[in-house]
């Protein structure tokens, strides 16, 4: 199958303006601005079934339709904060197929009537921001961005904004605070960004991969896009495969591909030919899936992954073989979330702190049974009480590891095998 998002793998140098244009680049944006009403673009994206690729999976066109026509100006913000352990797809898109992404930003802007867009990149993506700045300048020179585009009244500018090392800024309201020059801490919602977003104005925040789909949907139509993938999960998805596999990397596949195909057909099998023990389907935020035959043969789409007690999320698949113990694994994930907790709400700030203390004791083999019970209790008490998803995420792997892999939390096994 030819690639739709990672098109640089089929078309060398697609990141160069002239090559992108030669392959039909910017025609979709031009068609939208010169022949379609913004509402028609939104309707088409709604009809395509495109859902947000950042993790939440919310229908993109529906998100756009929440933008009120009574408050102006409107903004579009591309979420390029990609910081979830196990996720590295947006970086590849922006490094190698940046113009398709930027065209997607432009289309989203036209659809919601925004004249300015910000691409919020994590600070570590400094060199990626340099690439985007260069491409934005190329687009301005070629007349794809700027004032009164294609002889219409529509004007558009795109800017990059670098974060500075904070996972929480991937949460959309924290991200907006960060662009406003404040600490990246989530806002209380409602009001949602669609009404009260950047600078208090209606704002759409979309993930990089989501936006990169847009030029193709406009070019080939909603029906075509829907025909890819499965009933509830239209289109293609980039699966970031990492951990104990022979060929980690990004794989662009239709929704509905199974875990077995991803790991064995594309990923070249498991490191040292060991059996897969656990799968994390959505990076460090994921529930821990027991990798039995049923799980391995489960199609990767939003509804099917849910039957495994997990979420498709950003589709960052971390494979764990039987050489490690899960107490060590959740020590890693807890450490991450404790470090990244922004400190604003008490359940997350205190909960991650205590989870870390307890898992350290468990890994040292101290009072394993009692401390495991307490760890699970702390995690359970955090659930549904945190201000934003970060706190919830921090508990997912903890509770499911303890419940689904009890053998790894026995006094005789814990504190054992680590990578």
């Amino acid at each position: 199958m030819t690639t739709l998002l990672l098109r640089h793998r089929d078309i060398p140098d697609i990141g160069r303006l002239e090559v992108y244009q030669k392959n039909g680049g910017f025609e979709a944006f031009k068609k939208a601005v010169t022949t379609m009403k913004p509402q028609e673009v939104t309707d088409m994206v709604k009809a395509s079934g495109l859902r947000g690729r950042g993790g939440a999976g919310f229908p993109t066109g529906v998100k756009w339709s929440f933008i009120p026509a009574t408050i102006w100006p409107h903004y579009v913000v591309a979420n390029a904060d990609e910081s979830e352990p196990g996720t590295f797809k947006d970086r590849e898109i922006m490094e190698s197929n940046p113009l398709q992404f930027l065209e997607g930003v432009a289309i989203a802007c036209y659809a919601v009537g925004a004249n300015a867009a910000y691409v919020y990149l994590r600070g570590e993506f400094w060199p990626v921001a340099d690439i985007l700045d260069e491409k934005i300048a190329d687009m301005e020179k070629a007349g794809w961005l700027g004032e009164k585009l294609f002889g219409t009244d529509y004007s558009l500018n795109i800017y990059t904004h670098l974060g500075a090392g904070a996972y929480i800024c991937g949460e959309e309201t924290a991200l907006l605070e960060s662009i406003e020059g404040k600490r990246g801490q989530p806002r209380i919602r409602p009001p949602f960004p669609a009404v009260y977003g950047l600078y208090g104005k209606p704002t759409v925040v979309n993930n990089v991969e989501t936006l990169t789909n847009l030029p193709l949907i406009l070019e080939k139509g909603a029906e075509w896009y829907k025909s890819l993938g499965t009933a509830d999960s239209a289109g293609v998805k980039i699966f970031s495969l990492s951990g104990h596999v022979n060929k980690p990397g990004n794989y662009e596949l239709p929704f509905g591909t199974t875990y077995r195909e991803l790991i064995y057909t594309y990923g070249g099998g498991v490191t040292d030919d060991r059996p897969v023990k656990a799968i994390m389907s959505a990076g460090a935020s994921s529930a821990m899936i027991v990798a039995d035959d049923k799980a391995l043969d489960t199609p990767m789409d939003y509804a099917s992954v849910r039957t495994l007690g997990a979420d498709l999320g950003s589709a960052s698949v971390i494979v764990i073989n039987d050489t490690v113990n899960l107490d060590w694994v959740i020590d890693k994930t807890i450490h991450f979330f404790k470090h990244e907790s922004c400190g604003k709400c008490t359940p997350c700030r205190e909960g991650t702190y205590w989870m870390q203390h307890l898992i350290v004791r468990i890994c040292r083999g101290e009072e394993v049974e009692a401390n495991t019970r307490l760890l699970r209790l702390v995690a359970k008490q955090m659930q549904n009480k945190c201000l934003c998803p970060l706190g919830e995420f921090s508990t997912m792997a903890v509770t499911t590891a303890i419940e689904r892999f009890p053998a790894d939390f026995e006094p005789s096994t814990s504190g054992g095998k680590h990578a």
Partner: protein, 168 residues
Amino acid sequence: MLAEKYPDEVKKIMAKYPPEQKRSAVMPLLYLAQRQDGYISKGALEDIAQMLDITTTDVAEIVGFYTLYQDKPTGKYRMQVCTDLPCALRGADKFLEQLCGNLGIQVGETTPDGLVTIEAVMCLAGCDKAPMFQLQSAEGIAYHENMSVDKTMELIETLKKSSGEVRE
């Protein structure tokens, strides 16, 4: 003063945001200050606060919240190794331990010549190419992926040779 030393950059940064929202420029200006001094000095905090009509505390809390800003001098290069789960499954912990052993320092410490500070950091979105680290210096950030201890020691030797002002 940043505005005098980097007039073009400052102008470009300020142009990105609506004129009444100039506080948004605090993060890019901090990067500029860090490029100038290698860290954010107290003078830079005051300078930026004045440019944006906010207090030095408003600026300092940004420096404190985000991990890529430094409020004190570090080694010329900061080698930041990702040890999060996907990297650790590919041997990042062992890599870091051996690297520190070879250099004779602990995680978080700087080599005696002041050249390299070794740190363990959170996910850098390079999970499929572990062991990996980012090399941060005043000039910017560069990723080094699919690394081994030997390759890293060679890199440090190269950095040593190209760093004129670092004494042996």
